[in-house]
Amino acid sequence: MDNAHLAPPVPHERTAESSAALPRARRRRWHLLLAPAFGLCLLAVWTLVARSGMYAAFIVPTPASVAERWWGLASDGSLLRHAAVTLREVLTGLLIGVAVAFWLGYWIAKSRTVAYTLTPYLVALQTVPIVAIAPLLIIWFGSGIASKVIICGLIVFFPMLVNTVIGMRGIPAELHDLLRSLEATPLQTFWHLELPAALPIVLGGLKVSVTLSVVGAVVGEFVSASAGLGYLINFGRGTYDTPLVIAAVFTLTALALALYGLAAGLERLLLGWQRANGTP
């Protein structure tokens, strides 16, 4: 899974004969301005609606009041504190969920016995709505970090597992034969064949998992928590502090985007060979 299909189509390059260098460069810059300009338009519409008097300030606050609230939270350090709590839950849950999913996926792909034994339960687990069992997990594991880590881990588990299985099963049988004929040990086979061959699809799973992990932590914090960005949202809703809710949502989005950027960067770093082979 990837969001590459959302990327804009590359405009047709004109040949050097048909177009001078300068207009072409100018057109490129102009494209870069489109998205920020659209963002400013949205912000203007939001301001107009908030100022129009149609809605009370606690229902639709102005962008300025949200920014002010955000700045207040940021400067007294509380935003950082809450964000750090959520980030810790997200990273711990992600690490555990991804590691377990990769390990299980590896064995499901390698062993029919493991696949036949576990697949029905894993599919059943996936169909359980995490939101529905979150309260149960809070009852069992308390309202501290443990329950959020588990919710996070569960939500990132499936995409990672599926992608690991697909990635592993897609390895050409003849490459396995080659390593067998070279008397590679199981560890060598993993390191020199299975890991690099499955990596593109595994990292695709990681990008999906990373964004889901933020959802997982927030779901956990909604049900019961005493800190975190999800807790802030819940708290703001309870006190009709709408600017707080929106400021926390923006922070959460920034967090998710940053994590996604890290995963995408990791992909670029590890899969440089894909570009060298001419596959985008």
Binding site: P172, E174, L175, D177, L178, L179, R180, S181, L182, E183, A184, Q188, H192, L193, P196, A197, L199, W273, Q274, A276, N277, G278, T279
Partner: protein, 254 residues
């Protein structure tokens, strides 16, 4: 002194057990590959050539019979037997040099020796300029040269090739068989190559083994007494044409 058989198959039969029923693929195949001989195996498609090669490589256990390598039963795949498939099967995350060096890395060859042998193999396969290139940038013929180099770099005693030029166009294919002759002249080993091109078999081989339709069994053996070194120029010589005709007749008896 009798020539010791390096790799031999004794009364090999193989049946694939599938949900749709048993598929007999090989029926009582016995062959000996010895010394520095180049043997080609031809036969109709689906007659069990690949199956036989996989069994000789120790990648597949035959239903009946046994394979001996230097007199010892072959029970698993071994480094001493190299294999090349129709597809080059290069690792796209490794460069040409990295792909060539793979067998040495797995065997724990020291880096200095590895670099030296990789360089020598790049030269032998005519890929000096492509050491740092990735497989995606190679033509089919170049990729297959890397695959052959990779199968030779750790100096196996036996080389098994399964239609290594089967996916190449006719022109590249001819060039590659000449190339293989040249490489083989430098790395004399026991070679068994499956091909469905009769001229290719006659050009390369000391002996051509002919297999009958499934379940595969050997129906003829044609010695090729043409002098070496050989080149593509042979293709139109009368004795070459006569030998090709002999092989063709043994595949389809009139």
């Amino acid at each position: 002194m009798a020539v010791r058989a390096l790799l031999s198959a004794e009364h090999i039969s193989h049946v694939y057990r599938t949900p749709g029923g048993d598929v007999p693929a090989l029926d009582d195949v016995t062959l000996r590959l010895s010394g520095e001989s180049f043997v080609c195996l031809v036969g109709p498609s689906g007659c069990g050539k690949s199956t036989l090669l996989r069994i000789l490589a120790g990648l597949l256990r035959p239903t009946e019979g046994r394979v001996l390598l230097d007199g010892q039963p072959l029970t698993r795949a071994q480094r001493r037997v190299g294999i090349v498939f129709q597809k080059a099967n290069l690792m796209p995350w490794r460069t040409v040099a990295g792909n060539l060096a793979l067998p040495l890395e797995l065997a724990g060859t020291p880096p200095a020796e590895r670099a030296e042998r990789t360089r020598a193999m790049l030269e032998l396969t005519g890929l000096e300029g492509f050491a740092g290139a990735y497989p995606g940038a190679l033509s089919g013929g170049m990729a297959q040269r890397v695959a052959i180099g990779r199968a030779l770099i750790h100096d196996p005693q036996v080389l098994l090739l399964d239609e290594p030029f089967g996916a190449l166009d006719a022109l590249t294919r001819e060039q590659m068989s000449e190339e293989l002759l040249r490489i083989w002249a430098r790395h004399r080993k026991t070679v068994l190559m499956v091909t469905h091109s009769i001229p290719e078999a006659v050009l390369l081989a000391d002996r051509v083994l002919v297999m009958g339709p499934r379940p595969g069994h050997l129906v003829a053996e044609v010695p090729i007494p043409l002098a070496r070194p050989r080149s593509l120029a042979l293709l139109h010589q009368p004795d070459f044409v006569a030998l090709s005709e002999q092989v063709r007749r043994s595949i389809r008896p009139a």
